[in-house]
Assembly symmetry: C2
């Protein structure tokens, strides 16, 4: 097994944190997104969607999409249960992971992709009005999360899950997207400090 | 159990098709998105993301997010396995479901939401340049799918899965988004005719 990734991009970081929390060791191979390596035909053989990361199994089978890779790892090494256990907990974790993907991660990414000069060859066309439309929605989502975290320790309940990984990577992605974290969101800050202090956060 | 939904919206349709394929019967309660019922405080108690559908369990627990609802149903009634069986098949189905969500469903939705006059109170601001940026990507994705379907019967392999439901609902959503299906994509047309002919398609 190996993972083809780019170590400065946010989705590969989600997988690295997931693997660190699982204590699963898979070798990484880097490609350079700045040189558009992910658009070359050799890479498209691994993932026609032209995105990293991709997990390549020993028989050559390619698994793309961050959450699909993580779910495969959960399947072969179930503990700790980062997708939860039993239908109800699994549904709640899926719900929160998706809310954080669409409501936070995706919106931060749109602001970065549609405004940052470094993205002009990758996001064509850059639509600045679309980036700006997402800006207030990021802050609405952070307020919502802050309210939720008044009553529980982690994003999807009382244990650390894939939803926390999604939220941590999205939050750190706010920095290159030039979005400030609102200091008044004290529950969110408490959660952020806790998940950032885990050894997996620097994976 | 009950599901709060709006029977003209695409995400509720994904859940209805899923339930029909599972032969699971859950009562539906309608809200009117045109009257912005989903933004009222009573509904936000069920889902602070202000989206339908929401599954409400007998103890009042709310599960939102289409795929989280479907996964809960799969958990309580596993057969037929619309999310697959075993780590590898489950990962492949998750991969294709996500590719179809982000690469097709989401892009069609953006075109509809940012161009259609009926959406002007729901998508604020409408950014027509963002809709147009998605248009060629829809057709790129349909071509990619057509190539994939040359070698297999369904979206994620040789059986019908949640990925087919996502793709069917996205394809039918092209009509209100005023996107034509390219007639030269014959594998895609064969797949579309087959999944549309299943009794679940009219659920």
């Amino acid at each position: 097994m190996k993972i083809i990734e780019s170590n400065r991009a946010p989705n590969p970081r989600r997988v690295r944190i997931f693997l660190a929390e699982k204590s699963v060791d898979i070798p990484f191979e880097q490609i350079d997104l700045g040189k558009l390596d992910h658009k070359r035909p050799e890479f498209c053989e691994f993932n026609p969607m032209k995105q990293v990361p991709v997990l390549i199994l020993d028989d050559g089978t390619c698994i793309a999409e961050t959450v699909a890779i993580c779910r495969y790892i959960e399947g072969i090494k179930p503990e700790p249960r980062l997708f939860g256990e039993g239908p109800l907990e699994q549904a709640k974790i899926e719900m929160w992971n998706r809310r954080l993907e669409f409501g936070l991660f995706f919106r931060v990414a749109q602001i970065f992709r549609h405004l940052h000069p470094a993205m002009k060859d990758m996001e064509v066309p850059q639509v600045s009005a679309w980036a700006e439309a997402n800006r207030p929605r990021v802050y609405d989502m952070l307020s919502l999360i802050d309210g939720e975290l008044a009553d529980r320790e982690f994003m999807a309940g009382d244990r650390y899950t894939i939803a926390d990984i999604t939220a941590l990577v999205a939050t750190d992605f706010m920095k290159p997207a030039k979005l400030a974290r609102p200091p008044e969101l004290v529950n969110f800050a408490r959660w952020y400090d806790a998940v950032s202090a885990r050894p997996s956060a620097t994976a």
